[in-house]
Amino acid sequence: MEDILAQAVEVAEEAEVFAVSSEETQVQFETNRLKHLQTKQQTSVALRLIRQGRVGYATATDMGERHSLVSNAVATAQFGMPAEFQLPAPSSYPPVAVFDAGVASVSNEAMIQLGEELVAPVTAHTPGIICEAEVARGTVSVRILNSRGGQADYRKSFFSLGIEGSLVNDTDMLFVGESASSCHPLSNSGEVAGTVLRQLELARNRASVPGKSLPVVFTPDGVASALISPLMAAFNGKMVLKGASPIGNKLGQPVFDRKFRLWDDPTVGYRPSSRPCDDEGVPSQRTTLVEEGVVAGFIYDLQTAALAHTGSTGNGSRNHGGLPSPAPSAFIIAPGDTDFTEMVQDIKEGLVVEQLMGAGQGNVLGGDFSGNVLLGYKVENGKIVGRVKNTMVSGNVYQVLKQVAAIGREAKWVGGFLQTPHIYCPSLSVASKG
């Protein structure tokens, strides 16, 4: 890496080398039984340089190709965007614990055992259900070096459990599922399977809803599938700069319900979304986005922060193998003071939404969402009475979150990128087909 940097600075004003290598082992169950054991090894190196004030960029998987790396990056620099930023000088990073050596020593046998513990209770509970399960462990090493002497070097471990079940009854299908992840080895297969059993219990009976406006409780998974992608776009500094965020000019203004608080936090210990620094070597920090309903901040990388005359929030991400770009690490919605059972008890007629399918397909920037309830339940007179089907829920995130009836007392991690409680909305448009 040092030699790539040395070659690059000979032809550029500034340069940065980013190298990541990962190794992952996955045990996969198909149709209720063990089917695949996979190991994936990957390395890649990316060179970003600033030449005549413009950014050049190239990546390669092979250290042996470093000559073409420098020449490819130089070739793109003639068209590159003007660099408004400086690469970070050496700095100290917050202590963010993301590595547990125990992960690498979990044996294949133990992973298979965990997979069996995910599948067995579910198939015992519901005959005929078909489960897929995955147990995965891995490590990632990241190293960043730049021509201002900035450098970062960290290792991260991750471990995950997941199960999805599908139950077919003629042309009626039910989908259930749950997953968990950590930087520690996980052993809570019983808890994950237990969530699936609860879903199966609640979905046992069928219920139908009328097509009209109804109160809706989004479970944490429901929040993730219906409400979060518009917010992730709207708080992105790049969208704000382009004027494409509906809240970009609302800093300091009340846009959401007073009960709503949101922040981005890559410093939570032993979460796979955490890291001591971002992919540009900027120290990680917790960034407040909404405080008591008021827009309090946006997330930035170096370039967008410079253009917005502010500082990077340490959200430079190379998720897609390209140049760094602002991206959330993990969004966290603050818990409220209402139990899920209290929310349900409060509803005369309404819905609980666990999975909304296709919600992110519409006008995401504008906050509109509209999706089919893949997993959701009807509430009647304060009780969940059964699963709904052929039902669409539509709304606008900004209208929904402007007036929230209640926020749940307990928050849950969903999909590794969001920690959220239940959110209870007083009225949403529901369309259904009998």
Binding site: T39, Y57, K242, Q361
Partner: protein, 457 residues
Amino acid sequence: MSIKTAGQELAEVIGKCDADYVEAHLEESQTSHIIYRGRELDSIGRATAIGGNVRAMVKGGWGFVSFNDLNNLPERVALAVEQARFVGREASQLAAAEPVVATVSVEADRDPAAIPLVEKKQLMDEYNDIIWRTPEIQTSTVGYADSRKKVIFLSSAGSFIEQERADITLRLAAVATRDGDVQQVGLSVGSRGDFSALQSLHDEVAQMARRAVALLSAPQVKGGEYTVVLDPVLAGVFVHEAFGHLSESDFVYENDRLRRIMTLGRQFGRPELNIVDTATIPGLRGSYQYDDEGMPATRTYLIREGKLVGRLHSRETAAKMNEKPTGNARAINHRYPPIVRMTNTYIEPGTVSFADMVGDIKEGIYAKNWYGGTTSMEMFTFSAGEAYMIRNGKIAEMLRPVVLTGNVFTTLENIDAIGDDLAMNQGGGCGKGGQAPLPVSNGSPHIRIGRCLVGGG
């Protein structure tokens, strides 16, 4: 080490393994991308990548090892075999395959890597300028990506296939805003390496930008059931999402209850309905000569005269269902094992003209253009980038984007008119099992669906 040399080295090793079957893929790719967000160039770059994998089967269990370091190949093979042995507990079943030794090259006029970056950038500049010239446009995105890839497939049965392919995608979006309201319209196109297919979109780009502005004054549809007419692009997404995924045998082959639903001969639609998947049409993004298990591409009728007559297979699903292999095992890259995927999927043209299709609709929706789509096998949702009310047989006011949802089985039955104007859409990419976007194409003539659930505000 070149992947060819690595392939020759692997061929020596995998023939001698103590496994029921071993295959390997070696891949090298050159890619470039140009992204504008707003007026400014956001990212431009080139990348090269190499990598490979070894997949082994022992007693019905699969081991899979992927890597992008071409050293220690014999050890990777040994690990894959050891993993397969670790999970295998029954009998291996794979449909018979003739060993193939072949070389498939990219046509010289279809090599995006041969076109200078400056020429690609100039075209993107032109399109972005068109968007920005439109009043009330707040911002734009232009995302261009191309790849040229060479994959070597080899198997313990003696296959050694070198295949090259090229792919280009272009996604454009225009965002319009007024008084805090944000509306966007997108355009997705693609080609199998032919850059000239992207070079004359100026009028379409201008229309797209004007439509984004027009959406600001468009009403939301009132949610409910409507008669819906889909344009070829959206009908292509519908056939892919709503039916194509159900035809992928890996969902079906070990699921007895699903097998009962997907019984060959079952009536799914009216006799006018014919659905085909084929990788054999030259020049389409989903086409190839050999799939990632080294099987030759085929043309498969999924629905013929309204009846289920076929499905898509890998070697394993074909063997387990005792059906003919179709050559539909594909992987997006060397990091993933091949799984059953679609290629180019379309509804065959019928006889109804567009005017007749719309003519007797009192109140309905004309939905056009792809925005996105997803399926849970039984239920699907897909969204239209452009929609209009149909009133008294005429296309009426423009609507904000609509989301259509339904049950696959009843919706296919509810297709009551099939147009005479088949068109293929090359702008799509398919995701499954974490593998996205896979180059596919979809197509259809205009179709009419009765009683379709439409979500509104």
